[in-house]
C-alpha cells in the first residue's frame, strides 16, 4: 500500500516534471560581431519569455562578412549540426543554396509563403529566393547612401547634387574654399574589400547598365568603362583622397566624423555613428540622400543587409524555422530599428512613429532602399567579388589603366559565366 502510494506520487511528479525539461530545445544562432550581437541577445531573451521550452544561445564570430563566411564554410563543409540559425550576408543565398547549407524553407511555411513574401521590401523577397526556393528570411536591411556635410553645402550655397558631375563640382568648390589640406571631397571604399565591389557597381548602375544581362556577362559596353573613368576624373580633380586604394569602409566614417570629408558613400550604420559618437565633430551637420547617377541615368544603390538561414544540418529544424520566422517579423524589425538603428525589411515599419522618433533619417532612407539593387547573384560569388574588387582597387591605386583593369576583370569573370 505504502509502496504503491510512493510509486504513484513519483509517477505523477515525473509526469508533471518531464514535459518541462524533456521538451526543452536549445537553439544556437550565429551572428557577426558587426551585427549587434548584444541586440540579438535581447531579442532572443524576448523569444525565450514567449517560448519557455526554447533556450537560445547566441554565438558571435567574425568582424567582416568574409571572416564569418570562412568560419561558416568550415563548420558547414563538415556538416556540423552545432548551429541552427545563421545570419548571412545578402550576397550569399545563391552560394548557400548551391552548397546545400541552407534548409529550403518552402515546405515549412506552406501557404504562408505566398502571403509573407509581398510584405517585405521587394529586393529582399527576391534576394532570398534562388530558383524559386526560399533560402533564407530577411532580418534587417541595409543600403549605401550618400552622406554629406549639410553645413558646408549651405555655407557655399550649393544644392544637394543629383549627378556625379554636380557632386564633383560641389566638392571642388567646397575643398577649394575651405583651404583645409585634410578635407577630402568624396570618399568611398577603395581597399581590396567587399565594399569596393559597390564602388564599381553603383556608377555602372547609375549609367543605366548592369554587370550581367540575362545571366550573361555584359561588360563589353561603353558603360562598363564609366566607373573607372569617373574615378579617374575625380582623382585628377583632387576630389578623391590620395590614398583611396587603402580606404576600407569604416575608415570613411572615421575621417568623416573628424570633419575631413564633404561627401561619403557608405552603409546605414554610418549615420548613427557620425551623429552620436562621443568624438564626432559633425553632429547635426550631416545630410543623407540617394547616391548620384549619370546625366540622363537613374540612381541605384547597392543592397546590403542580413538574412536568417536555417542550417541544413540543424537537429531542430522545425523549431529553428519557427524562431527565424519570428525574427523576420515586423515586431522584431521594429525592435531592431529602435535598439540598433537597423533598417527594417518591411516598408510599413519605416513609418512607425516610435521608429521615426529614434531614427528621424529613416524617412529619407526608405526611398533610397527601394532603389537598391543586388550585387551579381552567383553560386560562386566570392570569385565574382574578387575579380571586381581587386581590379577596381588596382585602378584606384594607379597600377592599372581602364583598359587593363576592365580586361583583367572580364577575364576572371568569364569562366564564372559560361
Amino acid at each position: 500500500m505504502k509502496v504503491a502510494k510512493i510509486v504513484i506520487t513519483t509517477a505523477i511528479a515525473l509526469s508533471l516534471a518531464v514535459p518541462a525539461w524533456a521538451q526543452q530545445t536549445t537553439l544556437r544562432i550565429f551572428t557577426g560581431g558587426q551585427q549587434r550581437p548584444d541586440v540579438m541577445r535581447k531579442i532572443a531573451d524576448e523569444y525565450q519569455k514567449k517560448n519557455p521550452n526554447v533556450k537560445v544561445e547566441v554565438e558571435v564570430g567574425g568582424a567582416t562578412s568574409e571572416a564569418q563566411q570562412q568560419y561558416l564554410s568550415t563548420v558547414l563543409s563538415a556538416k556540423d549540426p552545432v548551429l541552427d540559425v545563421i545570419l548571412i550576408d545578402v550576397i550569399r543565398p545563391a552560394q548557400w543554396a548551391a552548397q546545400g547549407w541552407a534548409e529550403p524553407l518552402d515546405s515549412y511555411l506552406g501557404a504562408d509563403k505566398a502571403k509573407l513574401l509581398p510584405t517585405y521590401l521587394k529586393a529582399y523577397a527576391e534576394a532570398n529566393q534562388v530558383n524559386g526556393k526560399l533560402v533564407a528570411l530577411p532580418y534587417f536591411a541595409d543600403a549605401q547612401f550618400l552622406y554629406y556635410r549639410k553645413d558646408l553645402l549651405e555655407k557655399y550655397k550649393q544644392p544637394v547634387p543629383k549627378t556625379w558631375d554636380e557632386m564633383m563640382e560641389t566638392a571642388k568648390i567646397i575643398t577649394d574654399g575651405e583651404k583645409n589640406p585634410q578635407l577630402q571631397g568624396f570618399s568611398t571604399a577603395g581597399a581590396p574589400i567587399e565594399g569596393t565591389v559597390c564602388t564599381y557597381l553603383v556608377p555602372l548602375w547609375g549609367a543605366g547598365s548592369d554587370m550581367t544581362k540575362d545571366g550573361k556577362l555584359n561588360l563589353d559596353t561603353p558603360e562598363a568603362r564609366q566607373p573607372f573613368q569617373l574615378y579617374g576624373r575625380m582623382k585628377q580633380a583632387g576630389v578623391l583622397p590620395k590614398n583611396v586604394a587603402e580606404i576600407p569602409t569604416d575608415r570613411i566614417r572615421v575621417d568623416f566624423q573628424a570633419g575631413n570629408v564633404v561627401f561619403a558613400q557608405n552603409w546605414g550604420y554610418f549615420w548613427n555613428r557620425v551623429e552620436n559618437d562621443a568624438d564626432t565633430k559633425v553632429k547635426g551637420k550631416v545630410g543623407v540622400t540617394i547616391l548620384p547617377h549619370d546625366k540622363g541615368g537613374k540612381s541605384a544603390t547597392c543592397i546590403g543587409g542580413w538574412q536568417l538561414a536555417v542550417s541544413a544540418f540543424s537537429k531542430n529544424k522545425a523549431e529553428a524555422v519557427k524562431f527565424a520566422r519570428w525574427l523576420s517579423s515586423p515586431e522584431v524589425s521594429k525592435m531592431q530599428a529602435i535598439m540598433a538603428s537597423h533598417l527594417p525589411v518591411f516598408p510599413s515599419v519605416y513609418k512607425d512613429p516610435e521608429v521615426l522618433k529614434a531614427n528621424p533619417w529613416f524617412a529619407d532612407a526608405l526611398p533610397v532602399v527601394e532603389t537598391a539593387k543586388s550585387r551579381p547573384v552567383s553560386a560562386q560569388y566570392p570569385q565574382v567579388s574578387d575579380a571586381i574588387r581587386s581590379n577596381m582597387n588596382a585602378y584606384l591605386a594607379g597600377t592599372k589603366t581602364t583598359d587593363v583593369a576592365l580586361n583583367d576583370m572580364k577575364n576572371r569573370l568569364k569562366p564564372l559565366y559560361k
Binding site: 568550415t74 590620395k242 584606384l396
Partner: protein, 303 residues
C-alpha cells in the same frame, strides 16, 4: 600478467624490439603528418564544380597542376613569395646576427636585453602586421610623419606595389630577426671563451676573431636558423594579409594567401590542394638544399 610480456620480450630480436619501440612515434607521425599530406595530394587530383557542387567531387588526374602552370596569378604570387624569401631571409640573418652579438656582450643585467630580443618573436604575426600597417598608414602613420618633417611628401606605402613590398619586407624582417637572434645567441654561447683568449694572445683583431672564430663556430646554428626561416618565409601569409590584403590588385599577394583565398573563400579545394602541394615541394627543395650542405660539411669536419 607481469611475467608474460617479459617472457615474450626475451624472444624478440634486437631489430623487432627496436621496431616495436618506434611504433608509437611512427603511428603518431603517420596520423599527424603522413595522413594529412596524403589526403592533400589525393584531394589535389579532384575537382568540384562550385556552380553545381551537388554533382560532387570528380577525379581529374593532374588537371589542377596543369591549371596552375597556366595561371598568371599563381606565377605572380610565387614570384612575390620568392621576393620575400630572397630579401627577408638574408636580411633577417644579418640583423639577427648583429642583435645576437649585441646581446652576447657582458651586460650587467641581462634580462632586459633578452626580453627585448624575445618580444617581437612572441608577438603574433597578425599583430605585427597590424602594427606596421599603422606605421605605414598614409595620413596618420608615423613613417609619413617623419617624411613630412624632412619635407618629403607623404607616400602611398600600402597601395603602391613597390613601396608596399618594401614595407612588408621591413615588417617581416623586424619580426624574423628576433627569432634569428635567439637561435644565434644560443649558438654564440656554445663557443668556448678560450678560443678568443688564444686569438687575443696571437694579436688577432676583433674583426679577425669574428671571421675566423665566431662565424665558423656559428655555422651549424646559422644553418638551422636559415632552414627554419626559409620555410616560414615560403609560407608568408599573416603580415601581408594584415598590411595590404594582397593589394593593390593582387600585387603583394603571396602563394600562401592565394591558397587561402582559393580554398577558404572560393571553396575550390581541389585547386587549392594542388597549390598547397606545389608549395610543399618548394619547401622540400629549399630545405633539402640546406640539409645537403650541412651534411657535406659535417662529413668534412668529421674527416
Amino acid at each position: 600478467m607481469r611475467d608474460a610480456p617479459v617472457a615474450r620480450g626475451k624472444d624478440l630480436s634486437e631489430r623487432a624490439l627496436g621496431t616495436l619501440l618506434l611504433l608509437p612515434a611512427g603511428l603518431l607521425l603517420a596520423v599527424i603528418v603522413v595522413y594529412p599530406i596524403a589526403t592533400l595530394f589525393w584531394g589535389s587530383l579532384h575537382s568540384v564544380d562550385n556552380a553545381n557542387p551537388a554533382a560532387g567531387d570528380q577525379f581529374v588526374g593532374f588537371e589542377n597542376y596543369l591549371r596552375a602552370f597556366e595561371d598568371d596569378r599563381f606565377w605572380h604570387s610565387l614570384a612575390q613569395t620568392v621576393v620575400y624569401v630572397v630579401v627577408t631571409v638574408p636580411g633577417a640573418l644579418v640583423i639577427g646576427l648583429g642583435l645576437a652579438l649585441l646581446a652576447n656582450r657582458p651586460f650587467r643585467v641581462k634580462w632586459p636585453v633578452r626580453l627585448g630580443l624575445l618580444l617581437p618573436w612572441a608577438l603574433p604575426l597578425v599583430f605585427a602586421g597590424l602594427i606596421f600597417r599603422w606605421f605605414f598608414e598614409y595620413q596618420t602613420g608615423v613613417v609619413n610623419d617623419w617624411l613630412g618633417r624632412l619635407g618629403i611628401a607623404p607616400l602611398n606605402w600600402l597601395s603602391d606595389p613597390t613601396l608596399a613590398t618594401i614595407a612588408i619586407c621591413i615588417a617581416i624582417m623586424w619580426k624574423a630577426s628576433s627569432f634569428m637572434a635567439l637561435m644565434l645567441l644560443a649558438g654564440l654561447q656554445t663557443i668556448p671563451k678560450s678560443l678568443y683568449e688564444a686569438a687575443e694572445v696571437d694579436g688577432a683583431t676583433a674583426w679577425q676573431q669574428f671571421v675566423e672564430i665566431t662565424l665558423p663556430m656559428l655555422r651549424p646554428a646559422i644553418f638551422v636558423a636559415l632552414t627554419f626561416r626559409t620555410i616560414t618565409a615560403i609560407q608568408t601569409f599573416d603580415i601581408p594579409y594584415a598590411m595590404t590584403g594582397g593589394g593593390p590588385g593582387d600585387a603583394t599577394e603571396t602563394l600562401a594567401m592565394y591558397i587561402h583565398k582559393t580554398t577558404l573563400d572560393f571553396l575550390d579545394f581541389g585547386y587549392g590542394s594542388a597549390l598547397a602541394a606545389l608549395m610543399f615541394v618548394f619547401s622540400m627543395v629549399a630545405t633539402s638544399g640546406y640539409l645537403k650542405y650541412t651534411r657535406r660539411n659535417a662529413g668534412r669536419n668529421g674527416g
